[in-house]
Homo-oligomer: 209 residues x 2
Amino acid sequence: MTRDGRTGGAPRTRIQQRNRRAILDAALDCFSAHGFRGATLDQIARAAGLSKPNLLYYFPSKDAMHAELLSSLLTTWLDPLRAIDPAGDPVEQILAYVHRKLEMSRDYPRESRLFANEILQGAPRFGDRIGGELKTLVDEKCAVIAQWQAEGRIAPLDPHHLIFSIWATTQHYADFEVQVDEILAQGRAAQFDAAAVFLDTIYRRTLRP
Amino acid sequence: MTRDGRTGGAPRTRIQQRNRRAILDAALDCFSAHGFRGATLDQIARAAGLSKPNLLYYFPSKDAMHAELLSSLLTTWLDPLRAIDPAGDPVEQILAYVHRKLEMSRDYPRESRLFANEILQGAPRFGDRIGGELKTLVDEKCAVIAQWQAEGRIAPLDPHHLIFSIWATTQHYADFEVQVDEILAQGRAAQFDAAAVFLDTIYRRTLRP
DNA sequence: CGTGATCCTGACCGCACGGTCAAACATTTT
DNA sequence: AAAATGTTTGACCGTGCGGTCAGGATCACG
């Protein structure tokens, strides 16, 4: 037994790296598609091409896999917001944020759904992370937006609700993918191109001072 | 044994009405909070104040409860969209739709989350209903919106994505309630008032020809 | 009051789940 | 080549799940 419980502990061997990666990828598939309780270890094991006990050789428990996924997700998930530059052009900064978020929905729909599943069910295993760094970052960026508004550089709008609307409209394409697919009879690429045009338009109109 | 499997079958006695109601209400609580697999019959039974076998006296299975909830949900869920009047004023019609949807998120958050849970996980027990009446209705209303645009009465925007954005922004307040609560430090009523103002503003700006 | 229909429950069943473990297998080190 | 370390697995365990059933309690009604 070599596994330590530490989340960030650098895996020593190549085989550990490969297997941990495979497990987390399979777990992401299952958790995002069926929720935490809906996903089973056997399912994850099969998807990862490993046996169930072998999964538990690399991770102490099902919760541990889920926790690691969520934990490593939050950071990258907030990066686009973090990248909003107070020194940049207000409208372009916010629009760039919209586009980055939309691209994340296109390129990482599983991560979006994992997140959505967790929040939907009351964030039972996420808890303080939301009230913590997320709220801090959001409040910080809202202050920037409020400042821009005070300078008359974008239209006055409740910054928090503006951010909510950006989250909602962009993540919708990942979280509700089956619905979107069913209603739009076209390929994913075309869907996202059209969505980009649409969101660009409405936020440009919305933000114009 | 008196129960027939029919979904619309009118319950004969008062006690049947009361208990079926209580069960469906408890089931809605559980399913919306934990997803289909996450909810257990014992949990639902406790919430309904009945014993587990008694639940299965009124419903043949857990799936049946879930199916009945979803089935009776879809109709009322689409009513606000159905109410869009081609003969009315375009901007006001669409804004009224936005407000109705937002009110549904405020007044029926459990239903919204039940729906979200189902779609998120690929609509495994919903299936053709989406491709059926939902798509039909949406396409119909999109045609109305396209007509309005052709007449120059509202701004040209992809109608499907417009509807997606309305769904996303309004349902967000129900589906991601814990996140919204955590970030906004205020009561629910104030949240929804602010959201109404915000959405009214952005869609007014967006739709103006 | 009696009697048939309806309503309710404790005890139980089979199964699948998360997790354990001892032992086999593989790889590296000495 | 053998010892030590690291990796994998089949078999197993306890629990909680959805669901069943025989029979008891309760009700509606003649």
